[in-house]
Symmetry: C2
Subunit: 160 residues, 2 copies
Amino acid sequence: MDSIGFEPHDHSSCIHDCIAAVDAQCRTAGLQFTPVRRRVLEILLQEHRALGAYEILDRLREEGLGSQPPVAYRALDFLVKNGFAHKIERLNAFIACTHPGEHHAPVFLICRACDAVAESQREPTQGQLGQAAREAGFVIERAVIEAEGLCPKCQHVGAA
Amino acid sequence: MDSIGFEPHDHSSCIHDCIAAVDAQCRTAGLQFTPVRRRVLEILLQEHRALGAYEILDRLREEGLGSQPPVAYRALDFLVKNGFAHKIERLNAFIACTHPGEHHAPVFLICRACDAVAESQREPTQGQLGQAAREAGFVIERAVIEAEGLCPKCQHVGAA
DNA sequence: TGCGTGATGTTATAAGATTACATGGGGCGT
DNA sequence: ACGCCCCATGTAATCTTATAACATCACGCA
């Protein structure tokens, strides 16, 4: 799994590896990786784009795994809280983490043309955000960093 | 008006100055700074925190300036599009810009205890986000950078 | 067995945002 | 003055996103 998500890669093994990693982590952390939670993560992993909660819910419904919003939101809460998925605030949508379990300070690059989302990692307390916070005497606990623009592929297509 | 919003300051003059600055800018840019738009900006300026669209709508309603959601959303769209206000994605809420008209790459520091929001400016193409984008071949058009944590004042109160 | 904890099922509703269509007022060319 | 266009506004309806509240179930454990 690479840190940048725009390159082609072996997707089915990427899915399998992620599930296995999360499964192992849940075991050691004493967390219940239940069928719904696992399935939601699989659904998210099938795309390198963000899915809305209701999009996920639709798929769960088709599979008979639950039909009401709280089912999807609860699974997503679990995944997000434990760092297995992230919420993209800009899109009100969710995406699987590409570095499950690693120390977390995600940065997202969102392509406005093809909706692909790449996740990268940065130290939030360094760099310009950290500097702004230090100047203000502000203590950062979490940071949302989401850039919107064009991925390499889409820069060369319509070239809007 | 300072670039960091946690210090005490002369708030009524800050409001007045902002409105005057925006008014002048609208004049030169040929934009209509209508009563609803002006009032919404005033409402936002009265607080150094983000307000939801419906919170704003409630105040407009009390004043007889409009009662349906589109009234508030349209005014907010105008203000955001022209850089006089910003949307805080993390909160689904809006805040007046503290640097109206200046070249814009805002960074927000959101206090989770008192809800104060400070706005600072950074060059988005520099720093860690820019670096991540460059590595990925991604072209940034807009960036959402919102840090959540504790402002100086709240660090010394309950000390959660 | 009985209890507590955490996951699920289900109903209802809150909160945030947009679509669509009707109305009105100001500037401008004729 | 007239008609026209553009932009802003008024309003109803609807859609999307998210949560509250409460019942039930399964498991581990005293």
